[in-house]
């Protein structure tokens, strides 16, 4: 029984390691920023997941008591990984994409990243400063 448990844990660890490695390799290999975003958000998730499952199995078979922390790590990972991805994508859209290059969202509105509803006051203040400067010149 112990022997099979050890084999199961080893297989999970090796699988997790392979997926982590593939995720890192994707960072090097894929051609541009947006495609590179895909490799770590996916492959690394299962890489971490494999290690966590191995850890749970180890505590279940050899530890003093079952461990629940791995479930929490999974939950926190599921909640934070999409937010990191969204932030990176938005920063990249601001830096290197023009709104015209993206597909249109179907109505008169723009994508929220390029919209000015959130910080209209900031934008207005900057416009006024700009027009004043033009005036002086």
């Amino acid at each position: 029984m112990e022997f099979f448990a050890e084999i199961l844990i080893s297989v999970l660890l090796v699988c997790g390691g392979i997926f982590g490695l593939v995720g890192s390799f994707g960072l090097v290999k894929l051609p541009d920023q947006m495609t590179r975003l895909h490799a770590p958000t996916k492959a690394a998730t299962l890489g971490v997941g494999g290690v966590l499952m191995a850890s749970m199995a180890w505590f279940a078979f050899f530890g003093d008591q079952p461990s629940w922390h791995e479930l929490l790590i999974t939950l926190f990972l599921f909640m934070t990984a999409p937010i990191t991805g969204l932030m990176l994508a938005k920063a990249h859209m601001h830096l290197s994409w023009h709104p015209d290059e993206l597909p249109h969202c179907g109505r008169d509105h723009d994508w929220a990243t390029y919209g000015n509803s959130a910080d209209r006051s900031l934008l207005d203040a900057r416009d006024e400063a700009g027009s004043q400067r033009d005036h002086h010149e």
Binding site: G26, K29, M34, K42, M79, L86, A89, L102, C105, D110
Partner: protein, 163 residues
Amino acid sequence: MIRRIFPHPYLSALLVLIWMLLVNRFAWGSLVFAVILSIAIPALTEPYWPDRARLRNPLKILTYFLLVIWDIVVANIQVALIVLFKPNRKLQPAWITVPLDLRSPEAITVLAGTITLTPGTVSSDLSQDGHALLVHCLHAPDPESIISDIKSRYEARLKEIFE
């Protein structure tokens, strides 16, 4: 009165559960502290989340969760194969627009998170009126099928859970 103490009952229940899992072994003292946290944290964060999330069908969350886990495993293998064996010049990355039928902000958040976690897609932005999601695909020879996949597989189920 009870609504004043628990503005977000599901959040409170989740906080108790998370605290008990963090402590990792049962003790009445930690349960009391978990209840204190489950009252304090929703009260402190209520100004940022004024609306109450409505769940029409909480039991379906479990099947949705299992479906997403399964899809994440499949997605990982697909993405790993693309990364390892597909040359960059054959890759067809694409932006797609997914029109949304969902209206509740919580449901749209869950949908966007699910899209980011599953097959070669990252949700990148929401339209200003909240009626469409901008999604980037790693390899999309047929964008229409990806849109209909997202709508039938995830959005329909979320609509049953939330609306």
